[in-house]
Structure formats: C-alpha cells, structure tokens
C-alpha cells in the first residue's frame, strides 16, 4: 500500500542552478536547444525531492507541473475500478511525467510514488505552455516523446489483448535482455510483485512461469533478481 506522506522540498532547497541545469539537460526533449532557450527553461524550473515511498501525485489531484526525474526512481500506476493496481511504467533519471494532465485536464489519472529517495525538476503548467508557444521545436520534441509512449502503450495493450501471460513474460524478458551484453544476464528492473502488476498477472504466476522457463532451459535464475538468458531464441518462440 502506498504511503501518502507529501514532503515537497522548498522550491530552492538543494536545487542549485547547477542541478537544475543537470536535470533539464537530462531530458531528451530539451536536448539540442540553444543556450538562450536552455537558460529560459532553467529559469522556470524548480526542484523538489521525495523520500522513498512518498506519493508524488495521486489520481484526482490537480496537476500543476511537469515532473522530470533528476535522481531516483518513480513508479507510475493506475488503480482500476475494483481497486486493483496496475503498474504503468517506471521512471528513471531523464524520464518525465505529469504531462498528460497538462494538456488534457487538470487532474491526474494515475499515481506516482517514489521507489527510492528521488529528486525531480518541476516546470509549471503555464510556464511550460508559454515555452511551447515560443519554441515550436520543443513542442515537436514533446510530440516525438508522446508518439513513442503512445506506440509503446498501444503495443502493450495489443499484447494484453492477444497474448497469454507466459508469452508476455517471455517478451518482457527478451526486451530487457536487449540492453544486456553477452553473456546475457541482467537484474530484473523491478520486484516480481511489480512485474506481475505490470504484466497483468500475479506474483505466484510469475514465480511459476520463471521456474518453468528454467526447467525448459531458456533461462537461469540467480540470486538478487538476476536472470541469465540461456536460450534467447527458445524464449522468443514461447
């Protein structure tokens, strides 16, 4: 269950200009901008930090800012009508959230929770809009980012609709494996509980299916959430 303790830092806080810059520079959508634009963005960016487990925003809450992760990790999840939660994505430094409500409505549809101690940069709704009006190239960057996310989400939806849990898990593993080098071994990017939520299943099933993959010789499970892919091709055929 989520702790609902809000502890925004004071707007200046440990956020020196230097750290704003670092934060803003991290974000793909603000890359490759001219110095002057960058300075302008930085002048409106504020920073805040959250302790592990703290809620950054909740569904129904008013959305006022774009959040850019500077340091740490954020879980974004939805609560379905029946109260079950689904993990939508996990944000790492450079990722951002809160944009949906900025363009569409004023309230959040999802929940954001710091998984570890986390610091973020904030850009207020109206300030962001002004920036977008002024610098069309930023808008286009944001559009690209949205396209990417929309595409990923549509792909994810299609998987839920057409693939069984076993296949979804296999696909997930092969995707994580893409970023690893030979021998293919990686640490699961989240707990199995979260993975279950992300894949729309239960921890029990994740446990069983991973065991099955191991029996079938596709993977090898090691301690500390580490997994070695032994037979990637086999896994792709699941």
């Amino acid at each position: 269950m989520t702790k609902h303790t809000h502890v925004h830092s004071h707007s200046s806080g440990d956020g020196s200009i230097g750290s704003h810059r670092a934060c803003v520079r991290l974000v793909p959508i603000f890359n490759h901008l001219e110095e002057q634009q960058m300075d302008e963005i930085m002048s409106v960016a504020r920073s805040a930090s959250f302790k592990k487990g703290e809620t950054i925003y909740q569904a129904g809450e008013e959305s006022t800012s774009l959040f850019i992760v500077n340091r740490g990790r954020i879980r974004i999840y939805r609560l379905s009508e029946n109260g079950r939660e689904q993990l939508l994505r996990i944000l790492n430094p450079g990722d951002f959230t809160g944009e949906l409500a900025l363009f569409r409505s004023t309230t959040h549809e999802s929940y954001a929770e710091a998984m570890v101690d986390t610091s973020v940069c904030l850009i207020r709704r109206d300030e962001l809009r002004t920036l977008l009006q002024k610098y069309p190239s930023i808008s286009i960057k944001v559009l690209q980012e949205f396209s990417k996310r929309l595409d990923e989400t549509e792909r994810q939806t299609a998987r839920f609709a057409t693939e069984k849990v076993e296949t979804r898990l296999a696909m997930f593993l092969t995707e994580v494996a893409e970023d690893a080098e030979e021998p293919i071994e990686f640490k699961l990017p989240m707990s199995k509980k979260d993975l279950a939520s992300y894949l729309g299943t239960t921890p029990e099933t994740i446990s069983r299916k991973l065991g099955q993959f191991e029996d079938e010789g596709y993977i090898r499970q090691k301690s500390g959430r580490r997994i070695e892919i032994v037979d990637l091709d086999g896994l792709l055929l699941v």
Copy 2:
C-alpha cells in the same frame, strides 16, 4: 482477412477546394485557427478515397502523410507476433491517424482498413512539420489530442491487466451508452467479431456474456446490433 488492394485516388479526384475545407474544418486540432492559417493548411491538403475493404496503410509501410477522415470509417488494428489481430480503434469523420509514424519513425506500426467507402484528407509529413514549426498553437492542439489518446490507451491497458472479460464488456457498454439518451438504446459501433478483438476476447465469449447480461436483466438485445440498457447501475457493478 484483410484485402490488400490499394487504390488511392488521384490527388485531385473529387476533392474540390470546398471539400478540403470541410475536411480540415472537421478536425478538432485545426479548429479555431485564423483564416490565413486555415488557408495555408488547405493549400497543402490533398484528398484520396478508398473503397470498402481496401487497405489504407500497413505495418512496415513507409509513412508519408497524416490521414484525416472526411467521410466513412476506418479500422485501425495491430497484428501481434502470433498473427492475432487486435482492433485498436475505429476512426470516424474528423478523426485522424498516421501521426505516430510522422513523429517517431517512418514506418507504420499498425494497419488501417476502410470499413466502408471512405474519403480522407492527406497532409504530407514535411508539410505538417512546417506547419507545426510555424504555428505553435497547432502543436499544442496535437499534443492535447495525443494526451487524450494516450490516456485512453493507458486506461484500456489497465483494464486488460486488471479486469476480466465480463467487466470489460460491461464497461464498454456503459461507455457507449453515455452518448445515448433515454431510453438508453444504441447500435453497437462495430461487429461483435470486432468488438471481441477490441476487448481482447472471442466472438463466442461476447455472445455468451451478452446473453448472460440479458438473463440477468441488465440489457435487452434487439435486431441489427441494437442494445437497450435496462439496468445501467446493475451493469456498472458487474
């Protein structure tokens, strides 16, 4: 199965300036623009038409244009790795598609097929980009539209992940019912086969669940895909 017969009309075709205007005006993202901007958009819009069953674009194909539906209906679907199709959405006049690839990659990720004889307006990739650079307000409109779609898709994903078929169907019915007036009766916006694909289930299950809802007194099925909602509250609790 989809017929893959391409028959783009000649770019002028039946597309008089008048029809371009009508088409462009239909689109929410181009509403409320100044006359001059509107003229500029219209000057780069072309038209095309497709016969029922024709493929408008396919996954893997190069994306060159934004398609705006002028008349008719378009199914957008994905084919999953195992060859199963999932209906993503249905476009009606005023809706648009093809934007994903415009901002992200050059190839389509999904399939578009004319459900009935359909005419569309086209705006070429580079021309659209120029427009967005020139008129930031259009970008913001597109961002809003993207936000909306992203939100819908995320909601849909969360449903797949957390709700059973019965609930998804009940939710679908209540959402369609929102647009209807008392007595709540409407025509299903697609075939049950497509509805099954959209909801990630099979036609058999749709048939059975609707029958069950009828037995339980929530709905009444009539001929011609018409459905009357008898007990909306009951349906909401499913």
